[in-house]
């Protein structure tokens, strides 16, 4: 019925793709150490690995990635410099994450854990910060939701799960929770597609969501939250301009109207 293993497999594949990207970002960053764009890319890759890893039960991997993500957050906020040491350590950490992914598929444990501890100890020396343990807790104190690069802006997001989204083992409410970590989220669920109880397929998600997210995060960071369900949902992320924000209000009030009409007409 539920094909969680298949979905876990998809996570592993995507995670490896993200790691390839991360590696090229790190190598480019080595040649171009003042490039904030590359720093942001590395940060987002680590953030995604951490978040999705935690979602699929790779707790050690998530905790480990989080420490590295924090280091890149420091770089992003200009509290830590890009040095050869940091690049080398990050590349070692990247190999470590790969090893942890392989372990998740069925490799052996103790040597991987020891190597991870060693990397974290060196990272600690570099950043002068204690290691962070919690894997799935909300943002660390150094990174409040809106502390990212640009100014805060409103994003209009529409998330409509496809027929097979639930069957892949995804929990849409967890995705929304992750989205909430990026900023302030106003959210409205649309129940309009829910059929009568008798016709309702219990394993399919009929609810869709209209949201406005106020965040300084770039569009990619928002899209990354949905990266593992991109093929099984409809997703639009658009900058909300002032008039659009107003029409979003209108849209949601007409949605309310539609729902309440349904209520009365359903009698």
């Amino acid at each position: 019925m539920l094909d969680k293993d298949k979905f876990k497999q998809a996570f592993l594949e995507e995670a490896r793709e993200i790691l390839v990207e991360l590696e090229s970002s790190l190598l480019a960053l080595n040649d171009n150490r003042g490039d904030n764009e590359l720093v942001g890319r590395a940060f987002r890759a680590l953030h995604t690995i951490k978040g999705s890893g935690a979602m699929f039960g790779f707790d050690e991997l998530a905790a480990f990635s989080r420490n590295l993500e924090n280091a890149f957050d420091e770089v992003r906020n200009e509290r830590l410099q890009v040095t050869s040491e940091l690049i080398n350590l990050s590349l070692a950490a990247l190999d470590q994450i790969k090893a942890m992914l392989d372990e998740g598929v069925g490799g052996a444990g103790a040597s991987v854990a020891a190597a991870a501890a060693e990397i974290l100890a060196q990272l600690r020396q570099l950043t002068g910060k204690p290691e962070t343990h919690a894997a799935a807790a909300p943002s660390p104190p150094s990174a409040p939701p809106a502390a990212a690069s640009g100014a805060t802006r409103d994003w209009q997001i529409r998330f409509c799960p496809g027929a097979d989204l639930m069957r892949t083992g995804t929990n849409p409410l967890l995705l929304l929770r992750e989205l909430r970590q990026l900023g302030i989220l106003r959210i409205k669920a649309s129940m309009a597609a829910i059929p009568s109880l008798g016709e309702l397929d219990p394993e399919r998600c009929y609810i869709s969501w209209e949201m406005v997210l106020s965040a300084s995060a770039p569009r990619e960071a928002i899209a990354d939250v949905f990266i593992f369900v991109a093929d099984s949902c409809e997703l639009t992320i658009e900058p909300a301009t002032e008039p659009a924000a107003a029409s979003a209000e209108e849209a949601s009030s007409s949605m309310e109207e539609m729902v309440s009409n349904w209520w009365s007409s359903g009698v």
Partner: protein, 91 residues
């Protein structure tokens, strides 16, 4: 009355649907007790929503029996359910 205990998710969705259909067929008011529930996923919420709509549609009514745990109320707000479930204390 339907009492939901612990985590209600896609694994129990088919069973919950059956219970709700039976409860509606009984012709009595639909009462759902969430007091001992810890988490409901979207499959559970949409079943309750459809059942609430049908219970009201046939004027049998839908009531939340017992106290609703704070985590559940918070999850309802986080999920963007604005008027559902009716009678929920949203703080």
């Amino acid at each position: 009355m339907i009492r939901l205990d612990g985590e209600i998710n896609i694994g129990s969705a088919a069973e919950l649907k059956k219970l709700l259909l039976q409860a509606l067929a009984s012709g009595r008011e639909l009462r759902v007790d969430l007091e001992h529930a810890t988490e409901l996923d979207v499959t559970a919420w949409q079943l309750l929503w459809a059942a609430e709509r049908e219970a009201r549609g046939s004027s049998r009514g839908f009531t939340l029996a017992g106290r609703v745990p704070e985590e559940i109320s918070a999850a309802v707000v986080d999920a963007g359910f604005e008027t559902f479930p009716a009678g929920l204390d949203r703080r």
